[in-house]
Each structure stands twice: as structure tokens, then as C-alpha cells.
């Protein structure tokens, strides 16, 4: 019976009773499933990438080819294995690379395993355990649809009309290149200075700010720090070839202050990095605060698996997720060992201090660990590391070492590097290299070499005082967690020896985000959890670039060329204010140098795209003349930024030339003058660390499909690298063109196409440490590396080919650790052996640019404050703004995933989320429309979702919605309109609405008190029903 006749005939009597079991089944003839059968039962399905016959032999699908590549569905950067249609060159499916620890939790394939073997092991035919699978998350699986996206930019474009109107004309690559390099009256709006003229101009950018360098510093380059070797390529251009300090990333508006804050607890420095992870395998109690284990960017594939295993396979893994909003990781299947604990947004540091207070007052810390002042004394008590808990801090205001450690030099017992402690047994003042335990509590005077007395106190004693400054009740009120619960957490955290962990990932970003992280590390230090089995693993997400010198050798030195000089402070004012012209002028004129006119970052160089644009908006130190923005979106992603800088970006008189390098028009590059189409992940050369990997590893791959981007006249595909190469050659910058770099024998090599850079880089990686072996012919053919080999043969020496090709046949290079643990601690390769800091002396030597006072060496708990030190709540009262505002990163919505139809199909909108009791006070319930009111005078209008899954006193909005670009809006190209796609523009974006700092002059951003990074949480807001 066919469809048409059926419909004509009317209803056919059929017995339909819910729940009636029928034993009558009609089965197909025959028992083997033919291709014809498959076509009938699965007409829209893909044919599989290969099959296994009765003898388990792999029969490859001749219509598809297999290749390894990098997944860039989010910033974790996992390894991917792809199936590519040979006819259409389209990627049909993407799953995980089984060699990487990021995709194959716990059982990655050894590099020795051949790729075909690896695929067999992953198959059903092998009968092997399905715990051995190499996954990609929801985002990664959806990425193949990005390549043919109608809103993807594949041609070179020049704007038509004003900036931001989203009207473009296609031009040739050569025309684009000539116009941006030479300038001219490009838009009928007057003369535009080209890149060549900007670079060549030796004059000061702004004579009023002579310490901000020459005109070439007026090139701003915004980049993506997550693009691995591509980011390094861009950085080489910006810093070493062009020579401007003004390079921006998203790091410091994403949450880098937590990374820097953690480092305060790990190193005697203010510009280091640390971001420890939970040891899922052995942890007895884990706290996840401001992070969503298993679905955040921190290796979702591996995080999800490890959390699931710990939760399901172990009875002794307890964990708590502390967050203003319930996410999906505390499953109702495990209420015994897992729970979500609501915390009021901005209350994170209060909780840390409260726990520290309880632990220290009740002496629940690991005493022998903290009493060890040196490695030798740590060894003597079976500890791996030691701390500076027993170091004596000078507390005499008049002494030159005030708030610094008392040195052996001051005591006539050694040099300034050695610090002093009180021997626990004898009570005598001794040098810190003592092999004996030192006392934790000392608050008295000591006699120096010259007979004088000086008041000193141990770091630990100071810490105890510090964490007792506020009562438990006050701290409890601030975070919204009852005192009894805080004490329970503190007891649990100190009941499992070293096998406890606490982890964060950019979710605790109030103005004290840096201090929160410092305090969080301190908590782990109390019990000696660092580097311990079941404790804190510090070495996650490291790749070859950070652990080895892969750009210098061992075969090719890609940096061997005459480097440009970078002169002057960067425009965001990262540096020592007291070295500045402004400071020196004020002092010379007898004026008080503090407060500085603008906020300075005296700790680490932020490279904050948001703050750099703010400096531009304030013309201070200057407007930028040109802006190259690549693979980033600060207007959308940086909290508070949009209205601070949009006008000054749109105005060609203020910013003369904007060049975007990207596959999409986003909320930032919609203002560009020119767009250079960049490649998408599978079209890219890639070498990158993987965030979720616990061992050193890089995903490394060549382009595995032909780029969809336009071609240059020479037949090369347009992409970021080609553009940077050709601009540099046109300007005559070193490090590009002929004689761009050398091998270690001194022979020169050119850099004219991306392959010229990446081929030698890959050879370097393949030859770093143990030289990789050569792959088999079968490996090369199966992984489609044969298609890439000619590029390598043309550039490498014959003996270098094998190891380099081998790396490509595995999609990268991954180290192995045979034994995860050495006794009670991690294997040395997975440890970060350092002296953990109770008191950070380096921080105590850094001055605040407003007050001119030194920072505190201990963690600080305070209310939220603006740059001028005034309390945020004094400006914006509880009465007017009774809620604290929080944002979080939805796991499906990375910075790019809005362009993926299979992602937008999984959610129509985000919500204004709050507790139903709070909502009721405003006559609000789920489904109602409301406005969240910002003290900045803006509001967010959206749909309420009110239940019990949000902390009281907090309003939460997730990020990744509310796009106006990425195809959400119509785009006109060559007169033809590409309509906007409605699904891409749904929901609300909380960033543009969020507050800035009214105590800073002009345009500003809301700032971390310690580091200056951009903050976004705990912000006062109100709400009203619409």
C-alpha cells in the first residue's frame, strides 16, 4: 500500500491500545544485512568509516578517508579523528583522538599502537571494554557543520558604508593587502595611514606620554591565546617582527586573575601561573568552586569520564560543587557522596577565610608539613614540598625589611636569599635552611647581628590573625552558607590527610578573584594536598611549547632573525608605575605621585584586549591608529566593555584602520574595514597543548581538508598566516620572506607560506627529547598523511621526515607516565615542586597604583571595592540593588558554538535565574518577563526561571546567548543580503549590561583589586517585573 492511496482511502482499522503486547513480528527475509537493507532502514545515515569482516579485518570505506585533526569547538583544544568524504572534501563526522589523554580518559593508546589497531580496539568487533573510547563533547561533534555555514566568511571583504553597518564588497586579496599596507583615501572619508607608514614613523606616538613608545606602538593586535602554535606565530609577528607591546587576548577578562592568584600561593612571584586540578582517581573529598566538573572547558571529555568513574566506581569519593547555580554534575543518583552547595555570588573569599579560620583555630592543619622550613627538613618528615609558614616577617615599621622576611644577612648569618626561622626545639633563631622543624607561632622580637632588636612574627601566626579578623557569622552572611555547614566542610577537608582537592576555573570573579584563588591555595596548603596522591595536580594542560624550547630547536631555530625592539609601556599600563614618565614628573614637581592618573597593573602583564580598547577610547596614552583583530571577540566577551569603547571604534578619525582575520563576522569585527577570511580548525595547521591533559602532550596536525577560503593570486589559500606573512614582506619586517630563520647549522630558510613555518616546527617537536620513530606505510596511508608528505619532503632533510610523519599519524605527540604515583605523591613528571607560600613577599613589594601602599603578603578578605578603594556597596546600596549578579559559561555555548545548528537546536534561550523565594518578592515566577537593572543604567530583559536551584540573593544569567553577529543579523555582501538566522540571536547577553568602574576616569572596566584583570561577579543589581 503506498502513501497516496492510504490517505485517499481514509482510516484503516487498526487496533491501537496503549500497552497491548503483541507477539506478532514480521521479520525481513534472510539474516545478513545487505547494503540494500541498510539503504532502506537507514536512508539518511552516513556509511561507516570502515567495517570489520568476520575475521576482524578492517575494510576501509573507499568513499571516505580518515585523518586526525584538532577540535576547536571550545578553548580546551582536544584531538579529533575525522571521516572526510573523498568526493566533496567535507568532514562527515568527528570523534575523539584515542591517543590523547584529553579524549580517552585513563587509557589512551600508546604512541606505538598503529592507528588501524587503535581503531580496531575502539570497535565493537574487538569485544574490548567500552570504557576505552575516545570522545568529543556535544560541541565537538557539532563542529563539522561550521565549514559550510552560510554566514562563514570565505572571501576578502572591504566595508561599504559606515563601520558596523554590516555591508561589504568582495575584493581580491592583493587589493586588500595593497590598501592596508599603503593606505590612502580608502573609503572616501579622508586619508587612511597604511601599516607601512605607521611602522616606519619614528616619532613618539604621543609626546605627552613619551614612555609609551613610538608610533608603531599604535598598532593594536587582538589575538586568541588558545590557538597554540598559531597564536605563537602571531605573537612572533607582533613582538619580534613589528615590535609593538600592544597585544591583547581574552585571558584577563576570562578569569586569568584566578590563575595568577593561585600562583601567589605557589611561588615567590606575582607573575606566575597555577591552576590545579582535582585528582579524581584518589581524592577522598573534592570541592569544585566556580567550576563545573566534567562540563567546563577544562577537558570536558576527560573531566566527564573521570568524574563519572569516581562517582560510580568508588564509594569513598565525596564531592561538593559550590556555585550560585546548580549545574548538571551533582547527580541525583548519588546523594550520599555528592551535593551542590549554593553560594551567594561574590562570597567565595569569605568561604575560604571561614574554612581557614576553623582549620587554624582547631589546629586541624598538617603540622609537620608546615613546620618544615626547607627541603631537607621536609624530606626528614616524609613530605615532598615545604612552605614558608615558619619564616619570620619583620613587623617593625621603621626597619628596611618591614613586611619582608628577616634575612640571614640582617642577622649576620648568611646572605639575603636565606630567611630566618625559630627552631622548634631550641627556640633559637636559625637560618631557614635548617633541617629541623621550625616553630609556627612566634610573635616577639629577635636580636640582630648589630645587637639591635626587631619585632618579627611568623607567616603562619600572621595568617591566623588574618583569618580571624572577621567572625564566622560575618563570613557566613557574606557567602550565604550557614556556619554549621562551613564547619562541616572544614572538618571534611581536614579528615583525609593529603587526599583532598579544591578546584576553580574562572567562576569566582568578583573584585577579589585573585585573592580568592590565593586563599583557595592556602586551604590546600593547610593539609599538604599539593602534588599529593588524591590531592592537587598542578601540571595539567601543559604542552610542548611551555615545557620545551620547540621554537629554538633541536633542528630549526624559528626565532633566529633580527628581532624588533619593543619600546614603551603597553597602553593598558601593565608595568611599574614608578618607572613611568608621569610618576617621575610628579615627583620632580613636588606633587604626590599617588594616586596615579590611571590604574596600573604592577603584577603581571595582562594583555587585556578590553583594557587596551578602553585606553584607546580614552585616547590615553593615545588612540590606536590600526587594529588587527584575529580569532577573538572582546566586544561580546568582555564584561562591561561594549558601551565603553564602541563609539571610539566606530569612528575612523579615532581608529583609522581595522583589519579582521576571522572566519566569522562577530560582535567585534563587525566594525572592521577589511575582513581577511581565516581557516577553521580542520583546515588549519595546528600544534597545541590540550587543557584537559595531565601529561605533556600536543595535538599536532596539518590541514586535512582544503580550506574554503579564497586564494591569493599565487594560488595559496588566504588565512591569518598568509596575510601576516605578506604584510610583513610588504613592509620589510624581519622574520618573514627570504632568510626568515635558520637551522642549527646556520643555513637560512624562507617564510613565504604557512607550511614554511609549521613544517620545521613539527620537525622540532618530533625530535624533542626522544626522537620519534618512523611510521609504516600503512600508518601514513590510513591517516591520510600521504597527502601532506610532499610539503614535508620539500622542506625537511630526509632523516627528519620519519619522526615528523610519525607524529602526524598519531595526530600529535603525547608523553606517558608509567606510574601515576610515587608513594604518597604524584610522579615527578606530574608534580610542581615549589615552596608553597603562606606569605608572598613579592606581592608585599608591589605598590597599589591608587594608594601607593604596598600590597599585603597574605590573602586579603574585603568587601568589593573600586580602584579608588571605595566600597562598591557605598556607591550602589543594598536597598537600591538588593541582589548580587553572577554569570556562568553554559557548557554547550563556547565562543563559537552559536554558529552550529545542532547546538542552537538544543536551547531556545537562556534565562534570568533566581530563587523562587526571591522571585516571589517581586511577584515573579518562571515564564514571566523581567528586567535585571544594572547600576550602569542598563538593563537586561528576559524570561525568568525561578526555582530552588539558585542561591538566595543572587541573580544568574548564563553566557553564550544574545548574539547580534555570527549570522544572527543580516549581512549584505556585494549588494546581496544574507538574511540573519533567528536561532542565533535568541536569549540575552549579560556582558554589555555589566558594570564598570565609576572611580576611574573616562571609559573603564570593573577591575580585580590585586591584578587589574576584568571582574564580573558579585555585582549589585536589581530586578523588576515587566
Amino acid at each position: 500500500m503506498d502513501r497516496r492511496n492510504f490517505l485517499k482511502a481514509g482510516s484503516v482499522a487498526a487496533v491501537m491500545t496503549a500497552g497491548t503486547a503483541s507477539t506478532q513480528v514480521m521479520s525481513s527475509a534472510g539474516s545478513k544485512t545487505s547494503d540494500a537493507d541498510i539503504n532502506r532502514y537507514a536512508p539518511t545515515s552516513l556509511t561507516p568509516e570502515y567495517r570489520f569482516d568476520a575475521d576482524n579485518k578492517m575494510i576501509e570505506n573507499q568513499d571516505q578517508r580518515f585523518a586526525f585533526s584538532k577540535c576547536y569547538g571550545c578553548f580546551n583544544v582536544c584531538g579529533a579523528r575525522l571521516s572526510i568524504d573523498n568526493k566533496t572534501d567535507k568532514v562527515l563526522r568527528a570523534v575523539g583522538n584515542p591517543y590523547t589523554l584529553t579524549n580517552n580518559a585513563g587509557q589512551p593508546m600508546t604512541m606505538e599502537t598503529s592507528p588501524k589497531d587503535a581503531m580496531f580496539q575502539l570497535s565493537a568487533a574487538s569485544g574490548l571494554s567500552q570504557s576505552n573510547r575516545a570522545t568529543l563533547c556535544g560541541r565537538g561533534n557539532a563542529v563539522p557543520d561550521a565549514f559550510d555555514d552560510k554566514h562563514r566568511i570565505t572571501s576578502c571583504m572591504k566595508r561599504v558604508g559606515n563601520r558596523g553597518e554590516n555591508k561589504w564588497q568582495t575584493i581580491s586579496y592583493e587589493q586588500l593587502l595593497q590598501e592596508v599596507v599603503d593606505g590612502g583615501d580608502l573609503f572616501g572619508e579622508g586619508h587612511v595611514e597604511g601599516l607601512k607608514a605607521i611602522h616606519a614613523n619614528p616619532a613618539l606616538a604621543n609626546p605627552a606620554y613619551p614612555d609609551f613608545g613610538p608610533v608603531k606602538n599604535q598598532l593594536l593586535v587582538s589575538t586568541s591565546s588558545e590557538q597554540g602554535a598559531r597564536a605563537d606565530f602571531m605573537h612572533r609577528f607582533v613582538a619580534d617582527s613589528w615590535g609593538t607591546p600592544n597585544i591583547g587576548t581574552k585571558d584577563s577578562y576570562c578569569g586569568h586573575q584566578q590563575v595568577a592568584g593561585c600562583a601567589l600561593g605557589c611561588f615567590d612571584a606575582v607573575d606566575e601561573m597555577a591552576l590545579p586540578q582535582v585528582d579524581y582517581e584518589e581524592s577522598k573529598f573534592a570541592i569544585f568552586i566556580g567550576t563545573n566538573p566534567g562540563t567546563s572547558g577544562n577537558g570536558l571529555n576527560v573531566g566527564s569520564r573521570r568524574l563519572s568513574k569516581a562517582r560510580s566506581d568508588r564509594t569513598d569519593f565525596k564531592y561538593v560543587v559550590i556555585d550560585p547555580i546548580l549545574r548538571s554534575l551533582t547527580s541525583e543518583t548519588d546523594t550520599t557522596n555528592g551535593e551542590w552547595l549554593p553560594i551567594k555570588s561574590g562570597g567565595d573569599t569569605a568561604l575560604m577565610f571561614a574554612m581557614l579560620q576553623y582549620i587554624i583555630n582547631h589546629e586541624r592543619y598538617r603540622r609537620p608539613y608546615l613546620e618544615a622550613p626547607s627541603q631537607a627538613s621536609a624530606d626528614a618528615v616524609g613530605e615532598m614540598n615545604y612552605t614558608n609558614a615558619t619564616y619570620l616577617v619583620v613587623k617593625d615599621k621603621k626597619h628596611p625589611l618591614y613586611n619582608q622576611f628577616l634575612t640571614a644577612e640582617a642577622c649576620g648569618l648568611g646572605d639575603a636569599e636565606v630567611k630566618m626561622v625559630i627552631d622548634k626545639q631550641t627556640g633559637k633563631l636559625v637560618t631557614g635552611d635548617s633541617e629541623q622543624a621550625a616553630t609556627l607561632f612566634y610573635n616577639d622580637s629577635v636580636t640582630l647581628a648589630d645587637g639591635s632588636q626587631v619585632q618579627v612574627e611568623t607567616a603562619f601566626s600572621l595568617l591566623k590573625q588574618r583569618v580571624n579578623c572577621h567572625s564566622m557569622q560575618d563570613l557566613s552572611k557574606r557567602c550565604g552558607i550557614p556556619v554549621a555547614k562551613i564547619e562541616e566542610l572544614a572538618r571534611e577537608f581536614t579528615s583525609h590527610g593529603r587526599s583532598v582537592s579544591i578546584e576553580t576555573n574562572t567562576g569566582c570573579n568578583a573584585t577579589d578573584g585573585g585573592q580568592f584563588a590565593f586563599a583557595m591555595i592556602m586551604l590546600a596548603t593547610m593539609v599538604g594536598a599539593h602534588n599529593a596522591k588524591g590531592g592537587m595536580m598542578h601540571m595539567g594542560g601543559v604542552g610542548y611549547a611551555s615545557m620545551y624550547d620547540i621554537y629554538d630547536g633541536p633542528l630549526y631555530n624559528l626565532m633566529d632573525f633580527e628581532h624588533a625592539e619593543v619600546v614603551g609601556f603597553n597602553a593598558e599600563r601593565s608595568g611599574d608605575y614608578e618607572q613611568s614618565h608621569e610618576y617621575q614628573q610628579k615627583v620632580a614637581q613636588g606633587l604626590s605621585p599617588y594616586p596615579a592618573n590611571e590604574a596600573w597593573n604592577n603584577t603581571f602583564v595582562q594583555d587585556n584586549s578590553g583594557e587596551l580598547l578602553v585606553a584607546h577610547a580614552n585616547k590615553n596614552p593615545f588612540n590606536f591608529k590600526a587594529w588587527i583583530t584575529w580569532s577573538t571577540n572582546p566586544i561580546y566577551g568582555c564584561s562591561g566593555l561594549q558601551d565603553q569603547v564602541e563609539d571610539s571604534i566606530k569612528d575612523p578619525k579615532q581608529l583609522c584602520l581595522i583589519i579582521a582575520l576571522d572566519p566569522y563576522i562577530n560582535e567585534t569585527n563587525v566594525f572592521a574595514d577589511y575582513i581577511v577570511p581565516d581557516t577553521l580548525q580542520y583546515e588549519q595547521w595546528a600544534s597545541s597543548r590540550m587543557w584537559g591533559s595531565e601529561y605533556i602532550g600536543d595535538v599536532a596536525c596539518v590541514p586535512v581538508v582544503e580550506a574554503r577560503t579564497a586564494k591569493t593570486a599565487k594560488g595559496e589559500h588566504v588565512n591569518m598566516e598568509q596575510f601576516i606573512i605578506d604584510v610583513s614582506k610588504a613592509i620589510g619586517l624581519k622574520g618573514f620572506g627570504d632568510n626568515a630563520f635558520k637551522d642549527l647549522q646556520g643555513k637560512s630558510y624562507p617564510l613565504n607560506t604557512p607550511a614554511d613555518f609549521y613544517v620545521p616546527l613539527f620537525a622540532n617537536i618530533a625530535h624533542t627529547g626522544t626522537v620519534l620513530p618512523s611510521p609504516t606505510e600503512e600508518d601514513i596511508k590510513f591517516t591520510s598523511v600521504d597527502r601532506a608528505l610532499p610539503m614535508f619532503e620539500a622542506r625537511l632533510k630526509p632523516q627528519e621526515l620519519g619522526p615528523t610523519a610519525f607524529m602526524l599519524t598519531r595526530g600529535g605527540r603525547y608523553e606517558r607516565v608509567d606510574e601515576r604515583y610515587e608513594g604518597e605523591f604524584f610522579n615527578a613528571a606530574m608534580r610542581m615542586d615549589t615552596q608553597f607560600q603562606i606569605y608572598n613577599e613579592s606581592l608585599a613589594r608591589v605598590k597599589d597604583s591608587y594608594t601607593g601602599e604596598y600590597n599585603d603578603g597574605l590573602p586579603v578578605y574585603d568587601v568589593d571595592r573600586f580602584w579608588d578603594g571605595s566600597a562598591v556597596r557605598d556607591h550602589w546600596s543594598e536597598k537600591d540593588y538588593p541582589f548580587n549578579f553572577s554569570t556562568f559559561k553554559l557548557h554547550l555555548r563556547s565562543p563559537y558554538s552559536v554558529s552550529l545548528p545542532r547546538i542552537t537546536a538544543l536551547g531556545d534561550t537562556n534565562y534570568i535565574q533566581l530563587h523562587q523565594d526571591d522571585a516571589a518578592k517581586y511577584n515573579l515566577k518562571s515564564g514571566d518577563k523581567a528586567q535585571v537593572l544594572s547600576p550602569k543604567g542598563k538593563y537586561l530583559e528576559g524570561v525568568v526561571q525561578a526555582d530552588k536551584t539558585v542561591a538566595l540573593g543572587t541573580i544568574v544569567v548564563g553566557m553564550g546567548y544574545g548574539h547580534t553577529a555570527f549570522g544572527a543579523s543580516a549581512v549584505e555582501v556585494d549588494g546581496a543580503v544574507r538574511p540573519g538566522i533567528k536561532e542565533r540571536g535568541t536569549g540575552i547577553c549579560p556582558n554589555a549590561f555589566n558594570v564598570v568602574d565609576p572611580t576611574r576616569k573616562g571609559a573603564s572596566l570593573y577591575r580585580d583589586r590585586t591584578f587589574g584583570s576584568t571582574a564580573r561577579h558579585g555585582v549589585p543589581v536589581g530586578i523588576k517585573k515587566v
Binding site: 532502514y41 570523534v95 569520564r305 563519572s308 562517582r311 547527580s331
Partner: protein, 238 residues
């Protein structure tokens, strides 16, 4: 079998309809299947391992060519209140490829049937006339639907194009938490068989007596009695 009493709260939109308290232990159903001695492909979903990442939903769509908003599988997400605490509830659902399917008996053309060789309930797209009787007969909301591109009924068929050729279904390949396990429950040495013997597997809506071949570890009786639907509004955006 512990009967954990809890209140399951769905966010606005979906109401839970309980379908009676009759309960048939999955263990008996499995034994009945095995008695027939045929290869029976089945899936176990361990809810303690599901983190709601939706990799399965996306990979299924990519692999099987369904439109982005037409799903053969979904993960129902909501919060669950237990005692005074809030937890996340993640429930992957798909066609259960039942042993005694309600859909097959109402198909006027024989387009849908249960295969002898492996137990997959398939839809022959060349015979389907789109009457939708099977969709109406199936108690599992939304697991069968009309594919708007083909006009015929679509459903999970355990990636028959892969599983008949020695590969795993797409959702199983990419399940980040390792929640989905697949195989022949008539092979006592298979991983799925071992998993079923070690746990207390439940099925959805046992009272419908369809004898599903998708088993759940960590499902409560109340959840088992609930008529979940793939078409539930996607209100959980986290």
C-alpha cells in the same frame, strides 16, 4: 531494590504523568529474552555516569542525518529535590527496541518490524506510508517521529549501519561519561551482560509490558513509572 522516595520536579512545561504502579523486574525480562537464544542488541545506560553533555544527541544527528531539531535520542534534564537539597537529573532516552513492541502490531504495511538476527526494530522507509499509527501506539513519547526530510517515520535503530558492521553506535562512541554501553545481552561474556548482572537494571514504563531493550542503572521506580518524552521543552540551559 530500594524504593527511594523523592519528589521529582520538572521545570515549567512538562508535567509528570505516572502510569500506574505495576512493576516488572527487568531481571525477569532479560531472562525471558535469553531463553529464546537469539542475538539481542541492547543498551545499558548508567545514570550515575551521565553528565548531561549532549554529545550523544549531537553525534546521533550527525551520524544519521536527521535535522538538528529532530532527535532520535535526547537527554531530559531537570532538577530533582531530595530531602532539602537540589540535584541534577540527566536522563538519556531513545527508542527501546522493545521485545514486544507496541508499534509493530499497528503498522499497516509491515514497514516496521523487529529483526530476527539482532532484535533491532527497524523502519523500512520504502514501505512506510506515514500514517503515524506507530507513533501513537508507542508509549515512549517522541522516540518515533516523522522525519520531515523523508516523510517517513524515524527512530533510533541502534545505528544499524554501524552495528551490523562491527562498530558501536555513534552515541556510545562519544559518550563522555561512559554511561552508554552496548552489546548482545545473549552473549553472557559481553560487557553489557556483565554490567546487567552486577546491577539492578530498570526499564522505563515497565507496566506497558513492551519489554524494552534499553536498561537503566540508577533509575528509581518513580522515574521508571514516568512517561518522559523526547519532545519535552529544553528549559535546562546550563
Amino acid at each position: 531494590m530500594l524504593d527511594r522516595r523523592r519528589a521529582l520536579k520538572l521545570l515549567a512545561g512538562g508535567a509528570i504523568a505516572t502510569t500506574g504502579v505495576m512493576f516488572m523486574p527487568a531481571g525477569n525480562a532479560i531472562a525471558a529474552i535469553r531463553q529464546q537464544g537469539k542475538k539481542r542488541l541492547a543498551m545499558v545506560i548508567d545514570l550515575s555516569r551521565c553528565n548531561g553533555c549532549k554529545a550523544c544527541v549531537v553525534s546521533c544527528g550527525m551520524e544519521n542525518g536527521t535535522k538538528p531539531d529532530e532527535h532520535r535520542t535526547q537527554v531530559i534534564q531537570t532538577s530533582a529535590e531530595i530531602g532539602d537539597k537540589q540535584y541534577a537529573f540527566n536522563l538519556p532516552i531513545l527508542c527501546n527496541n522493545c521485545e514486544t513492541p507496541s508499534c509493530v502490531s499497528v503498522c499497516p504495511t509491515g514497514a516496521t518490524f523487529k529483526r530476527e538476527e539482532d532484535g533491532i526494530v527497524v523502519v523500512d522507509s520504502t514501505l512506510c506510508i506515514g500514517c503515524n499509527y506507530c507513533i501513537q501506539a508507542c508509549p515512549y513519547g517522541g522516540v518515533r517521529f516523522t522525519n520531515s526530510a523523508t516523510g517517513t517515520v524515524d527512530k533510533c535503530n541502534f545505528c544499524i549501519q554501524r552495528t551490523s558492521r562491527g562498530l558501536l553506535p555513534a552515541c556510545v562512541e562519544t559518550c563522555t561519561g561512559g554511561a552508554r554501553v552496548f552489546g548482545d545481552i545473549n552473549d553472557v561474556n559481553s560487557e553489557i551482560s556483565k554490567l546487567l548482572s552486577q546491577s539492578n537494571p530498570m526499564v522505563l514504563q515497565a507496566s506497558k509490558q513492551t519489554s524494552p531493550n534499553v536498561f537503566y542503572i540508577g533509575l528509581t521506580q518513580e522515574e521508571s513509572n514516568t512517561a518522559f518524552s523526547i519532545h519535552s521543552p529544553q528549559l535546562w540551559q546550563r
